[in-house]
């Protein structure tokens, strides 16, 4: 079995996780910029974080022959401070030509505030001006439905944005249809408590064909499972899906979306020899 982990916060994971993912068939890992669990005190903290995502972390993954890609932004959880966000967004262009940067993400909303919306619009403008792919975080729990609607409004209001180049992540049953109907890709995040179980992800795949869906672990510093995708593959198998269908969902679909960025090259071309 082979799979792509399209959303994992590996800076928060131990090296053993890289080894376990590689052993399970992971062919590439993609890391969106995230909140550290505490607010950074200055834009300089983000500068170092972007260096970590574009330089240090790819080297750590390469020790296991695993290509590492990244997405850059200031996460919605730190978007209430518009001044700080403006400074951080100004840092991003100098990193966009790094060989492992796929686009702008994970941008979006957290509590659906006015300032978060302003910062989302700034990120969307940045992505449009630099022709970058977009990875969107939708809010948690009670904020997801409203936040997903607001996010889709922002993306649809910008004529430069092509829905097929945007992935709206963390969809659940009450948001997946509006995302797919609007032409975007959807990501299902496999979490033990919040977001989505493997069984529910398979339900959505069966109802919406899985043509523009992917699954991810979004493993980070919280309760999360780095091997969630291979475990979901097992769930697909228990539900009667064949090897080709599973490969399409956990490997071919992410490759299809991510290959819209010319820097997304797979294993033998991209891996630095150990």
């Amino acid at each position: 079995m082979r799979y792509i982990e399209p959303h994992a916060h590996m800076v928060s994971r131990v090296t053993d996780d890289y080894r376990a993912m590689t052993l399970a068939g992971c062919a590439a890992v993609c890391e969106p910029a995230f909140w550290a669990g505490f607010d950074r005190s200055a834009a300089a903290g983000f500068y170092d974080y972007f260096r970590q995502l574009t330089d240090h972390e790819p080297q750590r993954a390469a020790k296991f022959g695993l290509p590492h890609f990244s997405w850059l932004c200031i996460n919605p959880k730190e978007s209430e401070d518009v001044g700080l966000a403006r400074e951080v967004i100004a840092l991003i262009p100098q990193f966009l030509d790094r060989p492992n940067v796929l686009g702008i993400g994970e941008i979006g909303l957290n509590k659906n505030s006015r300032n978060e919306l302003k910062v989302l619009e700034m990120h969307v403008d940045l992505a449009a001006r630099h022709h970058q792919l977009i990875l969107v975080h939708t809010p948690h729990l009670e904020d997801k439905l409203k936040g997903t609607r607001l996010i889709l409004d922002v993306l649809r209001a910008d004529a430069r944005i092509q829905p097929e180049r945007c992935l709206i992540d963390h969809v659940e049953e009450h948001t997946v249809k509006m995302v797919l109907d609007a032409g975007f890709w959807g990501g299902m995040t496999l979490y033990p408590e919040t977001k989505c179980t493997a069984a529910r992800a398979v339900d959505m795949i069966e109802q919406y064909s899985g043509e523009r869906l992917w699954m991810n672990s979004a493993c980070d510093w919280g309760v999360s499972v780095p091997l969630a995708i291979p475990l979901a593959a097992l769930e697909l198998r228990r539900r009667g899906h064949g090897a080709e269908a599973i490969d399409r969902l956990i490997y071919q679909n992410p490759v299809r979306f991510l290959s819209q960025c010319s820097k997304f090259k797979l294993p033998n071309e991209a891996v630095t020899p150990v």
Binding site: N110, K111, L141, R149, E172, E173, H174, T194, R239
Partner: protein, 87 residues
Amino acid sequence: MNRRELLDLYYLEARAKLIDVAAFLDRLDRADGAPDFRLTAFTQALTQLEPGREPRVERVLASLSDPTTEPIAVATTKAACGAWPGK
């Protein structure tokens, strides 16, 4: 998969979760404390398990969601709690 196969696959797991919910509500009944919007929302969501026009899972998720449409003025917390306190 047909209904029998799905029951074979998921019945015991769903049964365990159902009993966990029952035990959770009993645990709350035995405890002292003030009314809490999360319990109100949870109890309301349980009524969405009855058959209806929309799928149960969508109705449960919607009933636990913020139904408003305008952005809030300021985010005063980063966390979500799983129920909308405005109800």
